[in-house]
Symmetry: C2
Subunit: 346 residues, 2 copies
């Protein structure tokens, strides 16, 4: 890599000189403002091309206060995040949307509360216009921190507090869970267990609620808490089987846990779906299509949810900046629908 880095980048001043106009005019052309006579504009554009001019973002940000950058903050006290493709998909959706609107994605990974101070400092430092926060656990202080830093925020997943102003995007966990159980019921299953997620995440709570909506008088013993890992799912399944030998259906709160459950079932010699039908949640394709048998599950469009988070935040920013492109839709949380995907396990 040769040190072409030493060729000093041209400034607006340079291109103005070359085009024989003032810096202001050059700036107008570069920023696409109306009202520059065509021939002049053309000369400026040519100069830009010839010199390979690219605006210095720092200088621009200094005056406009717009950074055209959004932070994605991920609380990741556990390593779940890295075993679950969930996040990657969501980020991709976010990246898509941000890119389309010419915004940058700054990734802030935290490994624990120790890092929060750093994140707070960063957000307060005015590097970004807004933040997208994934706060996996109920007691998380990240959102509060962003608020304190005065950075507009959208949360991934329903937060556990209710506050009219908080913007978030989540899927219809409760409705999806209901569909899962209905599906099992429709298959004629009568003894249905639920492998729940840790109840410190609203998604887990909502899915459990959905289960209870449909099976209000299920034994409490039919509900076992997993931990969103395959192991957890496997253990929970074993417990369920020990307690209810006649179990004929299971709704697991995640595909990953369902994959663990499938494994236990196989080890115990239960056929799926003949003996026990299994429904997961998420539709993580790399998991659900690859279990044996492939998993029937509740699909949430993860990538789209990421996209929506970004879009919502950007709209919020536009609104704050006053106006922006036709403020039609209201600024409020988004809950996306889920969908039953039938494969072989139920």
């Amino acid at each position: 890599m040769s040190d072409s880095s030493y060729a000093p980048r041209p400034t607006l001043e340079d291109i103005a000189a070359r085009a024989g106009v003032s810096r202001a005019t050059a700036s107008r052309v570069v920023n696409g403002s109306e009202g520059v006579r065509a021939p002049l504009a053309e000369r400026v554009r040519q100069a830009v091309d010839e010199l390979g001019y690219v605006p210095n973002q720092a200088a621009r940000a200094l005056v406009t206060r717009r950074k055209d950058a959004v932070a994605v903050v991920v609380a990741e006290p556990e390593t779940r995040f890295f075993s679950d493709p969930f996040f990657a998909q969501q980020v991709r959706g976010i990246s898509r949307e941000l890119t389309a609107r010419d915004n940058q994605l700054v990734l802030l990974l935290t490994e624990g509360a120790d890092d929060y101070e750093r994140v707070g400092r960063y957000l307060a430092g005015g590097h970004v216009d807004g933040a997208l926060i994934f706060s996996l656990h109920a007691d998380d202080t990240l959102p509060a921190l962003a608020e304190r830093a005065g950075v507009p925020t959208v949360i991934g997943g329903r937060p556990d507090w209710s506050d009219g102003d908080t913007l978030y995007v989540d899927c219809d966990n409760r409705g999806g869970a209901r569909d899962a159980v209905h599906h099992l019921l429709g298959l004629g299953r009568r003894r249905i267990g639920h492998i729940a997620g840790r109840q410190d995440q609203t998604a887990s709570v909502d899915r459990l609620d959905g289960f209870r909506d449909v099976a209000p008088d299920a034994d409490p013993g039919l509900i076992v808490e997993g931990d969103f890992t395959p192991d957890g799912g496997a253990r929970a399944m074993a417990e369920l089987l020990d307690r209810y030998p006649d179990l004929d259906g299971v709704f697991a709160a995640s595909d990953v846990m369902a994959s663990g459950a499938l494994r236990t079932l196989r080890q115990r010699g239960r056929r799926v779906p003949e003996d026990v039908a299994v429904v997961g949640f998420d539709d993580i394709v790399s998991v659900a299509e690859w279990t044996d048998p492939p998993l029937t599950t509740i699909r949430q469009d993860i990538e789209e949810m990421g996209q929506m988070m970004a879009r919502l935040l950007l709209r919020r920013l536009d609104a704050a900046a006053g106006g922006g492109p036709a403020d039609d839709a209201p600024l409020k949380p988004i809950v996306t629908p889920t969908q039953v995907v039938v494969r072989a396990s139920a």
Copy 2:
């Protein structure tokens, strides 16, 4: 989220005023320069605390030309990236190192060559001090693009061209592959096949070379190309089995492909490892520990490799900035060792 965003952030001027010093002195304290008398420094620090001052990065960058930010560019024409936890782990390593050195991680995802122009513009825009590039395929123009933008770069994985100046970090693919085959040989296996990766990636090429190093006169038919997906692995395995019914060992160029191979083996009623021993590559824990049986594989420390990429880049930047902290180690590509991890499949 209340609009505390309207509270204007304090500037250096503000804290200088409050501390009763000049802006220059305040700046010195904030940046930890020597040579400010203790009592003054103390007053400044107090003002910083009281006002919650955080330096405006844009303003600072404008004069120092340091952005303290590094771009991570991922070429992702296929969606492999999202089914493979590989990347996430690498990013984590990068993030760790960057964070420790107070640098920011800007994520640039590309979905195809169309996006390259945007990335080029971004890099040239001087938003970042350097770039970490993951260029999965041989014909990728991303590295060239970064070079043109004059942005110091470190590549993830050995690039396919040789050029003394190019910095990269990779694991010892060839050596690891050799170890894999030796392990199989040590188990008494004599008919060993190789499920290779697409040969447009140097990692695949190197692993195949390693295989050939140890089994120089293996039938060409013993080498089948997969595509780094479970399906590809499954198909390749089927092909191998059809051609060589007496096959007793397989080295797959990735854990993900190995998992597919395992599936085929199970379907065909071959016991693993009794009938056919299988060795993977990568040691993606969420895959290797969860196959049935758990996978013996070649481990590369993915997270550490990410960390090394970041460290190498940062050192390169320091060097360019002249001096920096004790330039001991030379600036050259890094190849990390691999390690055999024995589980149950071989």
